[in-house]
Symmetry: C2
């Protein structure tokens, strides 16, 4: 990647905000996104094209995308639950569209109100729609295997089912398959296993990113193993805001500040200025004052003599 070793993809404005009841004003979202981009964050999932009555917190996603698109060098990502969402996403000009396919069909029915067959049918139609766009404005299309590390409703999902769905996502026209620990169930051995399983089916280059939660404190341990396996894109949320409102007990993305500290300390360049990043918390805290922000590094500070990889480069 261009001057960096790991792409930290900020998902707070989507995953974070969808999980809290407070609605962040549009201006605060813009300030948050602008400040994170200014700190060096290169990809931000800024919202989700879902009906406003389901997630009023993200009702202004089109406006947020329009603003984020004015920031040079920023990849503007959005989540979509279905074809209708994807149409809105394409219209908005988003650079990357992620559609979650829950490998647990029970969770899929609860979260997207769709069977696997229905979701895959949508994927096909979305892929066709994207192919119909002029090449220069064609968004990247990721199918994300959610609950791939286990489901609060079904427990562990069999390998064969995961492998089949990964294959079907690619066959339906996705550019990439993402791995998502929706429920915070993942452990490092399993992360290694699932990455190898899915890559074994769809190929190494079709699996580059992972979405981890820190529900049981294992988020960064899981991230280390994902890096060892060669993944180079890690989702995280500023202040650990977020989670999945449809998976009970599954709250809390890994914290962007702690993740960036870990990566930079390990000698992996993120392109992100940690001091500037930590300051972005003030914007979020002021906009949703009743929400707890997580993170160890903001409290503990940096080690004496700490030299981030990005600054060394």
């Amino acid at each position: 990647m261009n001057g960096i070793d790991v792409l930290v993809s900020e998902v707070g404005p989507r995953d974070g905000l969808q999980s809290i009841s407070a609605i962040m004003p549009l201006e605060a979202k813009k300030a948050w996104i602008a400040a994170e981009a200014a700190a060096g964050v290169r990809e931000i999932e800024v919202g989700s094209f879902v009906p406003a009555k389901i997630l009023p917190q993200l009702a202004d996603t089109a406006e947020v995308v329009a603003f984020a698109k004015t920031i040079p060098g920023l990849t503007v990502a959005v989540l979509v639950p279905n074809l209708r969402g994807a149409e809105a996403a394409i219209l908005s000009g988003a650079d990357k569209i992620t559609l979650p396919l829950s490998v647990s069909e029970t969770h899929s029915l609860k979260n997207l109100r769709r069977t696997h067959v229905q979701v895959l049918e949508d994927v096909k139609q979305i892929a066709a729609l994207i192919r119909a766009q002029p090449e220069a404005s064609r968004p990247k299309f990721e199918g994300s295997l959610s609950t791939v590390f286990g489901c609060t409703l079904e427990g562990m999902i069999p390998d064969a089912q995961i492998a089949r769905l990964a294959e079907q996502l690619m066959a339906a026209g996705c550019d990439e398959v993402g791995l998502s620990d929706t429920t915070g169930y993942a452990n490092p051995a399993q992360v290694r296993h699932i990455i190898r399983l899915v890559r074994g089916v769809v190929g190494k280059h079709a699996v580059t990113g992972i979405h981890l939660h820190n529900t049981r404190g294992l988020g960064l341990a899981n991230a280390v193993v994902a890096l060892e396996e060669g993944l180079d894109t890690l989702d995280s949320s500023l202040g650990g805001l977020g989670g999945c409102p449809f998976a009970p007990g599954a709250s809390g993305n890994i914290v962007t500040e702690d993740l960036v500290f870990m990566l930079e300390a390990m000698g992996l360049r993120t392109g992100i200025d940690l001091d500037k990043l930590v300051k972005v918390r003030e914007i979020v805290a002021a906009a949703v004052p009743n929400e707890q922000l997580y993170g160890f590094v903001p409290d503990a500070g940096l080690p004496l003599g700490f030299e981030p990889a990005t600054r060394r480069a």
Copy 2:
């Protein structure tokens, strides 16, 4: 190891209690240690032989050791700062004696009030004293390289200095060299580097354990790398109680509950019953009610269908 893959060494009664101002009553310490042993914990660092005026919290260490020694199968470990402490430790009948040597001489002077030369002289005399004991009652003697991942006063310590001190500890008569992230500075890449560095000097079998803090949220990520490198003994503290009172800002061992969950989920047997372990928090919380207990797993609960490695075996 006998029926387990990883030895979780509980250090809460020592590292945890020394870092808080409250003094836990002797009876509560006994209840804590007995309950953790009953949950399957096989090694507990129960105290430190330091002058009561420095650490009144640990003034009853001899009584605690005497009690812990009555628990079948439990390895009773203690910390000692110097020869006088080691004499008391040997007299108490402790199974394992750890003496910290801070690789940062500034920290060594502040923490133990000793230069490197003085500490190494003590190590020699302690080793001689241990060799003079009847073989059946000879404690294991570990020299622990503290601040080995960096010091709040000196920053990073040069590799050559770390290697020299590790060599000198073994030459002075230690059975093993431990690695201690006293300041919570460690990152996974550095953990790998330091393990290889020290093992390269003193041999693989002389480095089996690591003492990690979670000050910056990287504790379990560091633990994963230590396991990958083949270490099989991990220190942790129930509820994350603890830290180093002489290293400002450096608080919080890794949480035993979260560590055991991670290991068991990864298929590594600890011999510990997680449900029983989590219940031990009630004893600690009741005995030091003003102290915060940390840990994700106690709040989040176990994944649906979770099957610990120890129970599978």
